[in-house]
């Protein structure tokens, strides 16, 4: 559960623009894909922040920025007070011990030519100060047990495991350095439904056992609700809403969130005719050319002139209890049948 005190992760005004260039030898910049365009949030120890959004919203780029796999165009990512985005060399390597990642595809995130023991032990080979050489095998076997796998299987290869088991191996690898923050980028999307619950339960158990903080990025709103304490909704590179899970799911204030939630099918046919359906028209605009003012206005049923002129800031608007970015923010329960 969420703990109070200093946040262990502070993200401020994070921006990543990918330049679009023309020309072969002398490249001229003609525009930019504004993948992430100003994201700020805090994360506390033991807390889970879920980030939802559809394709093109920038959540994968955000994950890479948090992991310092991409350098931001501007903004900062402070882990325990130190900016990982500005760090280089040995300092960056040391900071990586504190923030690790679990990736989406269990079939490509493990090197097929390495044994499972080598894969999980690699963090120790890279950061030799974490475990003395003689200790490594034991630590690897401990990690296998912690994620529910047989420690005798250290010498097996990834292709000898199922998808769910491979994902567990990826989680074990992420835990090896005992980080405080783990960025989960769609960790269960590629798994069968009956296996998803196993892995979700594992992640929750590990969080409790090791006091981990998660950034849980996914497009499946039901899964995000289940595991998150707070949730941020992304659209075209920015948060349009940010709040506690009950606030976002039961009392969404931003029209996009409301549309998103109304589109999620509920596994209960009772009341399926009564549930509110908001069907958005058309496709999201291109991140290379976002609309002026509020980015959502081109698909929003509440859009007025002010929406094109002034971009609404992410703040707590009157009549609502959490932050959203809409001039006409108004909470409205779309998920439960009226």
């Amino acid at each position: 559960m969420a703990a109070v005190g200093e946040p262990i992760l502070e993200v401020r005004d994070l921006v990543k623009h990918f330049p679009l260039t023309q020309g072969i030898v002398l490249k001229r910049q003609i525009g930019a894909i504004k993948a992430v365009d100003g994201v700020s949030f805090d994360l506390h120890k033991g807390e889970t922040l879920g980030i939802v959004g559809e394709s093109g919203c920038g959540k994968s780029t955000l994950a890479k920025l948090l992991m310092a796999l991409e350098r931001p165009t501007s903004g900062s990512v402070r882990v325990n007070g130190r900016d990982i985005a500005a760090a280089r060399g040995a300092e960056l390597k040391r900071m990586r011990r504190n923030i690790q990642m679990v990736m989406q595809d269990p079939y490509t995130s493990l090197n097929p030519r390495m044994t499972v023991g080598d894969i999980i032990g690699e963090p120790f080979d890279i950061h030799t100060e974490v475990a003395p050489k003689g200790d490594r095998r034991r630590k690897v076997q401990e990690l296998l047990e912690v994620v529910g796998l047989n420690p005798d299987h250290v010498n097996r290869y990834p292709h000898q495991f199922s998808g769910g088991q491979r994902q567990r191996i990826g989680i074990a690898r992420g835990l090896a350095l005992q980080p405080e923050v783990i960025v989960c980028d769609e960790p269960v999307s590629a798994l069968d439904v009956s296996i998803q619950a196993q892995v979700i339960n594992l992640l929750e158990r590990l969080q409790n056992e090791f006091d981990l903080a998660y950034i849980f990025i996914a497009h499946d709103l039901s899964v995000v609700r289940h595991i998150s304490d707070r949730v941020g909704v992304m659209y075209l590179g920015k948060f349009v809403e940010l709040g506690k899970d009950s606030e976002i799911y039961d009392r969404p204030a931003h029209p996009y969130t409301q549309a998103l939630l109304s589109a999620v099918p509920v596994p209960d046919p009772e009341g399926r005719e009564q549930r509110e359906r908001i069907i958005l028209q058309g496709d999201p605009p291109s991140p290379a050319n976002p609309p002026s003012g509020c980015r959502f206005r081109t698909r929003c049923w509440k859009a007025q002139e002010i929406c094109a002129e002034q971009e609404p800031p992410l703040q707590i608007w009157p009549g609502t209890s959490h932050e959203s970015a809409c001039h006409f923010a108004e909470t409205h329960d779309v998920v439960h049948a009226s």
Partner: protein
């Protein structure tokens, strides 16, 4: 909830368990498949015999290949001379056996040289990308453009006819073939670079050296191995072609290509001195092509 993945299914006695093998890497899985591939076994047997011929020719042919008597030229097959005598009166059989050495040496050495040079440069080009890649790729393309005969002729004239030997041919062939290996390695490296497990290694803080050696190289090696194995046969044929044209191996060294050239003019009168080296050449090339084919099938990830 207890351990969720050890499935305790009670044993059904009549059921046959699928073949249990020790935990196997992809390499040992490939070797397992290779051993069972008839094409590979056949090709390898022939290749082994040829290699033995190359290193221990006197075991196969005790006769002296240089004992030539012009008076006996173009005699047919006899019990003393199993393949007859050639235009110079030399024992064709002995010469054919001794000719294997050149072919095998050229094939193996050229494959090694192109593999190492092309592979290393391809790894660098693919891994670093951008300017390094641009420069290396353009250099490779320049070498691609050199015509083979011209290149060999140039090399021969530089080295001089009496110093020309196996290494001249190896270099002439390698100069033309290394760009292909570079391209294949480069493409494989670029593919591997974009895999999730490389991203994961970066996220752990792995150095570029560790990433290229531990993660990229093992996964990029397979196509390069296939190409170098298949090229072995091509290089052997290439050496024969160069020698046939007179810009490869020079006499008194023995090469199948040279033998074919020598026997050409009097072919109708005495076919044996041409046919036997030609047949041996074809079988040799075929055996390496078969091996290369089988290796490609064994390492093909789609069939795994």
């Amino acid at each position: 909830m207890s351990d969720t993945n050890t499935v305790t299914a009670p044993k059904a006695p009549s059921r046959r368990k699928p073949k249990e093998r020790k935990p196997a890497s992809l390499w040992s899985d490939a070797w397992y498949d290779l051993r069972r591939n008839k094409v590979f076994v056949a090709g390898s047997l022939i290749a082994v015999v040829l290699v033995l011929m190359a290193f221990f020719p006197s075991v196969f042919a005790p006769q002296n290949p240089s004992a030539c008597n012009l008076a006996d030229a173009r005699q047919g097959i006899s019990s003393a001379h199993w393949f007859g005598l050639d235009n110079q009166g030399c024992d064709t059989y002995a010469r054919v056996i001794h000719g294997a050495r050149v072919s095998i040496l050229v094939g193996v050495l050229t494959s090694l040289v192109t593999g190492l040079v092309g592979g290393t440069l391809g790894l660098i080009a693919g891994f670093y990308g951008r300017y390094v890649d641009v420069i290396l790729s353009r250099v490779a393309e320049i070498f691609f453009a050199i015509p083979s005969i011209l290149g060999a002729l140039l090399l021969l004239s530089v080295v001089g006819r009496d110093k020309a030997g196996v290494w001249t041919v190896v270099i002439a062939l390698a100069i033309l073939a290394w760009p292909m290996v570079l391209r294949i390695m480069r493409a494989a490296v670029i593919t591997a670079k974009n895999q999730d497990y490389v991203t994961a290694a970066r996220a752990l803080g792995a150095s570029p050296w560790r990433i290229s050696v531990r993660h990229i190289l093992p996964n990029a090696l397979a196509p390069v191995i296939v190409v170098c194995t298949m090229n072995l046969g091509v290089f052997i044929a290439g050496e024969a072609a160069l020698s046939f044209l007179g810009v490869g191996i020079q006499s008194p060294n023995i090469s199948w290509g040279l033998m074919i050239a020598d026997a050409r003019n009097r072919f109708l009168m005495a076919p044996e001195p041409l046919i036997f080296p030609a047949v041996f050449l074809s079988i040799t090339v075929l055996s390496f092509v078969m091996i290369g084919d089988a290796v490609r099938d064994a390492l093909d990830p789609k069939l795994r």
